[in-house]
């Protein structure tokens, strides 16, 4: 650096004519920069790369009983769609999933609303979450059997167990992290408890809540696949879990992977078309998440 010298004296300047015409055009981006800016394109490339890795690894492994190639799986997937067996199983599962998920969310909402308004509620939620969240579904088996018997009822019960705790945990933690100023603003208007929760806490905690919803959704899938095996399905036909289980019994591994591929595809769809849109319409737009 130069020696610190006193700044030079300068004459006063007054700009009489101000620049006008603010519509500055953005610096044009190069073709590649624009392509790279496109999320859909980037993700497609990623997915293609992942599929390639799968294919290469499976080929190298050469044990299609254990790990079929992507093309084999793709073909089984196509066949499953064509014959309708996979589609049907998927519909069945998704329908169950939505019911369980919705119910789980309703319970989570009730639990956190209760937790946020009363101290007993907070204690209860804390305690129940730390007790029940680590419990495997098998622990619920007897109660599920007594209360709902075999079939859908029990599966939904287990789904609720999967969704409830993670959503409640994230939501409650989110509520507690809501800026004190927003809380004070909310309280200033004499909102009812319900309005306070829905108008202040929920939007304020939305980043956390959305994460909870994502995790809950993923766990609902995981649980469903397992639960369909455990709790059985009516013999008229089952969901994806059953599809996977049965094909495994038949040692038809490409079909097993086709079922799993369906789970993956659903994950991608829900994440990119439901959660992402939700995020963009809310927390991104509000500047609450970068």
């Amino acid at each position: 650096m130069a020696e610190p010298a006193a700044a030079p004296p300068r004459p006063d300047r007054i700009y009489e004519t101000l620049p006008e015409g603010f519509g500055v055009v953005a610096k044009p981006l190069s073709f590649w920069a624009r392509i790279a800016d496109n999320g859909v394109f980037r993700k497609s490339v990623l997915l293609a790369v992942l599929a390639l890795i799968w294919q290469a690894y499976a080929l190298w492994l050469g044990n299609s009983l254990l790990f079929p190639t992507f093309t084999e799986t793709g073909y089984a997937f196509y066949e499953g769609m064509r014959s309708g067996a996979l589609t049907e199983a998927t519909f069945h599962s998704v329908w169950l999933l939505l019911k369980g998920y919705a119910l789980g969310l309703a319970f989570a909402a009730a639990a956190t609303a209760f937790a946020i308004t009363t101290r007993v509620g907070a204690d209860l939620l804390d305690t129940l979450t730390s007790m029940f969240n680590p419990l495997p579904s098998i622990a619920l088996l007897p109660l599920a059997m007594i209360w709902f018997g075999l079939g859908e009822g029990s599966i939904i019960f287990v789904l609720v167990h999967a969704v409830l705790w993670s959503v409640a945990l994230n939501t409650h933690a989110g509520f507690r992290s809501v800026s004190p100023t927003w809380r004070m603003v909310g309280q200033n208007y004499g909102l009812s408890s319900l309005a306070y929760v829905t108008k202040i806490l929920i939007p304020g905690a939305l980043p956390s809540i959305l994460t909870g919803l994502k995790i809950g959704w993923a766990f609902a899938w995981r649980t469903l696949i397992a639960a369909e095996l455990v709790f059985g399905v009516s013999s008229s036909g089952g969901g994806l879990g059953w599809y996977i289980f049965q094909n495994k019994n038949l040692l038809d591994i490409p079909n097993v992977f086709a079922g799993l591929l369906m789970v993956i595809i659903f994950g991608l769809i829900v994440d990119n078309f439901v959660f992402r849109v939700l995020e963009q319409r809310t927390i991104r737009r509000w500047g609450m998440q970068s």
Binding site: Q187, N188, G190, R285, G287, M288
Partner: protein, 263 residues
């Protein structure tokens, strides 16, 4: 004027406020008493960290007194409510999930003040008063610091509450905007005679806005003096302007030694 011995609207009596943290207790104000009458423009003035915000939050019902009492129209204050609207000092007091207009509207509607077209009109009216009509549909994160504060001022004014509590609302504003906001506030007072409890750290602002000025000592805040003001910086019987008197009282320095430091 007609009532020779009126009851104060807000009576603060021997108020001690403390923050309890895990390791320590911080006393914010200590045995502060004052009365605010209906249609007062009551200014609280004191140095940084002396407990002005805490005091205002206690009147807002957010902080429980450790000692003493706060009564509004005879009733003990126990929780926040729309009869006392607070304009906070913090820049994040706007709800980020609502646009400027929605923020103002929400306050009106949620508190049951107004609804529908009336609420919308009132909101737009006050947004115009703070010169933000062009930004009515922007979200708060797209505003500058001063603009956020102006929205909060519009929101507080639009509520036209029984008592309006303002915590350094104009601190983030430039001279022109600040002057305009002060004029708007005084004009609003002329129209509605709303009771104001106004925190500021600026002596000229206190003199201009207030009809009563409470001076607090440095931390922990105690009442040092309560002075009347006519809105102009008149020379008093002791030959000092009001602001010079305040300055000497607040900073315990000799009136003539007063520098022109505050900007």
């Amino acid at each position: 004027m007609t009532d020779p011995n009126p009851k104060p609207l807000l009576a603060v009596d021997g108020l001690t406020l403390q923050y309890r943290t895990r390791d320590s207790i911080v006393t914010a104000t200590y045995r502060v008493s004052f009365d605010v009458f209906t249609s007062d423009r009551y200014v609280i003035l004191g140095p940084s960290g002396c407990g002005k915000s805490t005091l205002l939050k206690a009147v807002g019902g957010y902080i429980r007194p450790v000692e003493g009492s706060i009564t509004l129209a005879g009733a003990q204050i126990s929780k926040p409510g729309p009869d006392r609207v607070l304009v906070f000092q913090e820049f994040d007091q706007l709800l980020p999930w609502k646009t400027v207009r929605e923020n103002v509207l929400f306050a009106l509607v949620a508190s049951g003040r107004l609804k529908g077209r009336e609420a919308a009109e009132r909101a737009d009216h006050y947004i115009a008063k703070v010169n933000l009509t062009g930004f009515a549909d922007s979200y708060p994160h797209m505003l500058s610091g001063g603009m956020k504060q102006r929205v909060a001022i519009a929101r507080g004014m639009a509520m036209e509450p029984q008592i309006l509590l303002m915590d350094e609302p104009f601190a983030a504003l430039d001279a022109l905007t600040r002057g305009k906001m002060q004029e708007e506030l005084l004009q609003l007072w002329d129209e509605t005679k709303v009771t104001l409890l106004f925190v500021t750290h600026s002596i000229p602002e206190a003199v201009r806005i207030g009809n009563r000025i409470l001076l607090l000592t440095p931390h922990p805040g105690r009442a040092k003096a309560e002075l009347g003001s006519t809105g102009t910086d008149l020379v008093g019987p002791d030959g000092l302007t009001l602001s010079a008197r305040i300055d000497s009282l607040l900073f315990d320095r000799h009136p003539t030694a007063r520098s022109n430091a505050h900007g």
